[in-house]
Symmetry: C2
Subunit: 469 residues, 2 copies
């Protein structure tokens, strides 16, 4: 049932001279072992493995420069790799070549507490960074499901549950160190909070999925750990009532830190997986950050609004252990969903629409899903208008994949028709390429291509992703 194997058709040859030069420089840190290549040719997408010809473990920006120069000279594809947690096939070596694994570039370079910034090597993960920040009173809020690397999060313009309050990687990357296709090192910006000097190189590389340059260092914004945090949960009879509540909460200016939607099946999955006893109906999960009085006030306003929209069983979780249990359960929703169908593989959608269209978009998608033969769950970063369908596919079914693709296609097109996007936070990779022209139009896509040509004229950087050459 899996996504089609793209096979060997596109693979470029790896010149022996290139491999030898890498071996001479990297020794043990170059691997051509099948298991290592297979691992690096796989991500969390439904695609089968498409391994690179070799994997190099880089330790420094200078080493990345050396690899880039070599690959550029030989026309060899070069694919950056962090933790391999991407969902749309971003890191698959569809044209072969070299995967450059930056997971060992995992040093926190500097924490500037007064300036609320941290600079890290690209392989540092979000949990590692927050671990290192623990004693500073600061934290880094962006939290995709996986414990992804900061380099990968920047490259896919990732976000997560906190985006409604703190923004996405787009808003939270201050500066990047990037190695270009021809092996130059650039720093995209200073550490100033804002700047008007020239083109926004930082934002050009954020979301470029390794196709314009290889990110080796990331400077991010930090935030004060809130003095007080509380969580709440509220059940609804319908999705519409939940979404209407969120619209009103945001229009009231309540600075909710998180507001997440889960459908009935999602709650059921989470109950089983995390041993909870949540009522199995559409729910909203809230988190509030602020002063103790501010947090109480936010929760009170939210409770009033949800009640007016038919919300039931508004429940507080002020104790840290309850809160943490709830949010851990939410963070495990993906794995919880997978358990609904043992042995399944998953396909995940990721649309984002203006919030006024969210209820319609989810409702119409549920109608599609109700005709499908596989189970599914829905979770949503509903404050942003972003939601995911986790479709649980039987790898032995002859039809599950095709059916899921029909749902996925209809959903992507529905989101675009609602003036939204076919990917809110997962990125394009291989799987969303087909929708880009419909979303952006031919002329905008032509501009993107001209940027790719300008920055990577030999098309060595993660070739065949975002759009075909």
């Amino acid at each position: 049932m899996n996504a089609p194997d793209l096979g060997q058709a596109l693979r470029r040859p790896l010149p022996e001279a290139c491999l030898e030069a890498l071996r001479a420089q990297f020794g043990d840190r170059l691997s051509v072992a099948a298991a290592v290549r297979e691992h690096h040719g796989t991500d969390e997408s439904p695609y089968p493995a498409m391994p690179p010809d070799a994997v190099v473990y880089a330790h420094t920006t200078e080493e990345v420069v050396a690899v880039a120069k070599l690959c550029n000279a030989h026309g060899v594809p070069l694919i950056p790799y962090g933790t391999g947690s991407s969902l749309e096939g971003h890191t698959l070596a569809i044209q072969g070549g070299i995967t450059i694994d930056v997971s060992q570039m995992n040093q926190v370079v500097a924490i500037h507490a007064e300036d609320l910034t941290a600079t890290v090597q690209a392989g540092v993960t979000r949990k590692q960074l927050n671990e290192e920040l623990r004693d500073t009173g600061l934290f880094f809020p962006i939290d995709p499901g996986a414990d992804a690397s900061l380099g990968g999060m920047a490259a896919t313009r990732a976000s997560g549950t906190n985006a409604v309050r703190y923004g996405t990687m787009r808003e939270n990357v201050v500066s990047l160190t990037v190695v270009t296709a021809d092996g130059r090192v650039i720093r995209t910006a200073s550490r100033a909070r804002k700047s008007s000097t020239g083109y926004d190189l930082t934002r050009i590389f954020v979301g470029s999925e390794g196709t314009l340059g290889i990110i080796t260092e990331v400077t991010v914004r930090l935030y004060p750990q809130p003095e007080a945090v509380s969580a709440a949960i509220c059940n609804f009879e319908s999705l519409d009532a939940a979404v209407q509540s969120v619209i009103e909460i945001i229009q009231m200016g309540v600075p909710v830190a998180r507001v997440e939607f889960m459908d009935e099946a999602g709650v059921r999955a989470v109950n089983r997986y995390s041993h909870l006893t949540l009522r199995e109906s559409p729910i909203l999960l809230f988190e509030f950050h602020g002063s103790p009085a501010g947090v109480e006030e936010q929760a009170r306003v939210v409770q009033d609004i949800t009640r007016e929209n038919g919300g039931m069983d508004f429940e507080w979780a002020a104790r840290p252990e309850d809160r943490s249990r709830l949010w851990t359960a939410r963070h495990n929703a993906y794995f919880a969903g997978l358990q609904l169908r043992p042995g399944c593989r998953s396909s995940t959608t990721d649309v984002c629409v203006p919030i006024s269209r969210l209820a319609d978009c989810v409702r119409e998608t549920v109608e599609d899903l109700s005709k499908a033969s596989f189970p599914y769950t829905i979770v949503g970063h509903v404050g942003d208008g972003n939601f995911h369908v986790l479709m649980l596919l039987d790898p032995n079914s002859p039809t599950d994949w095709e059916e899921s693709e029909v749902v996925n296609h209809r959903l992507a097109r529905r989101a675009i028709a609602y003036d939204g996007t076919c990917s809110g936070e997962h990125g394009v990779g291989l799987h969303k390429m087909q929708f880009l022209e419909e979303e952006h139009g031919e002329d905008a896509l032509a501009l993107m291509r001209s940027l790719k040509h300008a920055f990577d004229p030999n098309n060595i950087l993660n070739p065949g992703k975002i759009f075909p050459w």
Copy 2:
């Protein structure tokens, strides 16, 4: 004393056929009158007028397309123009050509209150937009000194006093309609709150100063009008104490909406101009947005922190009329400063540094200024690490301009050395071009140039700005 006249050296010829075609299409809305050309060849920078050959008043995106196609075919420079309030020479027609004035494209296209977005034509000004939003309970926060057009604000990546809380145009432009050099129309993004689909075209055009495309429509984020607003003012013995207070306030996570610094001379100017009786010492001006209780709490915390740092005379302005008087005075600081030296022309700097370096940067700049023979004032969006020196120059002095340029150069280089930027919000235009390589490095600048070449191969869009061709 003014900036040197760049003269006629660079001007390209305007083919008669191009002018005739424009005249045929635009009739009265094409002007070659000297006064009109002079007006459009001037901005708020210290440069003398550099008029275009003709001015076209466009009413629609389609008309902008027609002009772009014509200019591109004839290799004629094309300069977009909103309100002419830019500060660094952005709109001066140094190579001649056509200025396309979009100030009559001043329709609010759509307000989507539930989604917190508004779409406007490029000529709509920030005050006009807020006027139209008055009954919606929403507002648009970005407030450069001038009542600039939204198109111009996007093109220069503008910000203002609210940026510490609400961000700059970088964070608040959702999508743009842009006419490319060859007359294609693209929309840079959907109205979704976030997206991970391809290169960030929106952020590529935000801050591009008319050199990559002509913005004809802007979709911006809106915010709920705060339930309560209050202001406060606090005097300090020294700049350091003021800056240290701000660092602590931000590290505490107090969500101040505005925090502005003014030096003694700035306060004196504002007192005279706006008939106030503020104590003439370094001051911080605060504004708080939130619920009534939240606003009180913020002010209390801020008062405690400023007191611990030696702040004096912490004074509330909770009544709307007092608040408005205070902030109107701040907004008029530029004009107030000009009055300190009747008949003067001004030169304004605009650096932004990590806040930990702000006190040092201002102090060293004051040392430079104390040796200069002209008066000056300092105002700062201190929460962002951004400050301006307004230098009041005698147009008849043989040395004022050169002296002010020495201060400006030393300050720009100082900011860059402190890992900051030579322009926080005014942009590059002509005046800051000389610092770009120092700030970004040769390789980053080469990438920017390659982007310019890719998007505007005939170099017709605002040529000679940001960097020489």
